[in-house]
Symmetry: C2
Subunit: 239 residues, 2 copies
């Protein structure tokens, strides 16, 4: 829709090149999430190691996008909406980089967890949660490319479900820990992974909020409404 | 040092206004950290509640800084180093906003923890860790204002100490949890707080890395070298 307004086609071309890099970076991050959660579930240390190594390339993509965005601003001196679109690209790539870090972290903990007793159902649950987050991330990027505020709002809504998955897992881990002290250490790691996946969802949400801001000119009512949520329900005996 | 190059004084003036807002935002975030860790240690729910309420103003500062930075770019069309300085302001304010969120989260958990058995030494240890992070944050902002790469390198180094404090606490919490299942729920929350404080340190480090990039034109060897560190040492019986 911004397309109607004006804009030199040179700016458009440059922005599209950068957006293509963001999409590519998004694909790398999504692959990292998929592989990290699969490695965790199947205790595949080689795959986990591969995810860790690939994070370097994701970090470099962010640096490249930042540099290209700065060059575009300097060269074309965009204003108003055009400028905001370029600045949004910088924020989006920063979010993607953080999500990549979380995937790398999941891979690191996989190698630690592989030495510990397995917690029933945790691998599958985390994989399901990761899939939900991956879809959010895809749709958030898609909403950016298409300037689709409706899709962005939908992504925001779905963050609630991810938060609920996290809260359910939190309670489950507490139960396992109280049942058997040998479960404490693996559950501490699994809990961290669950929290990191939830944080990935927060980043997808924050990308969606950028899109809403770009398209409507206003941030949603309460930005990032559910990040850092604190589950307070503990199983009986948890006090 | 960038001051030597050229630059309309109008740009300088505008940038200084924005930088003053960043410094003010930094002060608000530092106060949030201090109050949140003090509230946690003394179980002061009123103070915790105050920290939670003040986070809204921190969020608004980020929005304001972003808008002013975008306006500055549109108005003065800065290039090269000037442009990078403005873009750095955007990234720094994003980091500060995240740190503010972590402080708010600490305050939220304080209210939950106030209902649970106290874990000896945890409040003091977290307060000490928060102080170290606060000093890192102050120095990181100071290094930005003074374009002081040496100070920025020093901030980066100190992140190691914060990571060590976190690792020590992680092991301590595991021990408490294994000793008595009633400690599990409070330790889960305290562990999260410790991890969030460690993440605040990562953000201070990332501000310092922005400064190093601005001053030297290069990111440090390995950006964010210690974030998401995984403590693997468990106390005896932890497996």
């Amino acid at each position: 829709m911004n397309r109607d307004k004006h804009i030199s086609s040179a700016f458009d071309r440059d922005l599209e090149t950068i957006q293509a890099m963001v999409v590519k970076m998004g694909g790398m991050v999504e692959a990292a999430i998929t592989d990290a959660s699969s490695a965790l579930d199947t205790r595949d240390e080689d795959l986990a190691d591969d995810v860790r190594r690939r994070d370097k390339a994701i970090d470099l993509m962010e640096v490249q996008i930042n540099e290209d965005a700065a060059r575009l601003i300097a060269l074309r001196a965009p204003t108003a909406t055009d400028l905001r679109m370029v600045l949004a690209v910088i924020k989006i790539s920063a979010s993607l980089e953080r999500v990549g870090d979380y995937a790398k972290n999941m891979a690191k903990r996989t190698e630690v967890l592989a030495q510990m007793p397995q917690i029933e159902g945790a691998g599958i649950a985390l994989r399901r949660m990761s899939q939900a987050v991956n879809k959010m991330l895809q749709d958030a990027l898609d909403s950016y490319i298409r300037r689709d505020a409706e899709l962005a709002h939908d992504v925001r809504q779905r963050d609630l479900e991810v938060d609920q998955m996290y809260n359910a897992l939190f309670r489950e881990f507490l139960t396992h820990m109280m049942e058997d002290p040998r479960n404490i250490t693996p559950c501490m790691h699994l809990h961290f992974i669950a929290k990191n996946v939830e944080r990935m969802g927060d980043h997808a949400t924050s990308i969606a909020e950028q899109v809403i801001y770009l398209v409507t000119g206003e941030l949603p009512d309460e930005a990032r409404p559910k990040s850092n949520s604190v589950p307070v329900t503990a199983p009986a005996g948890g006090m």
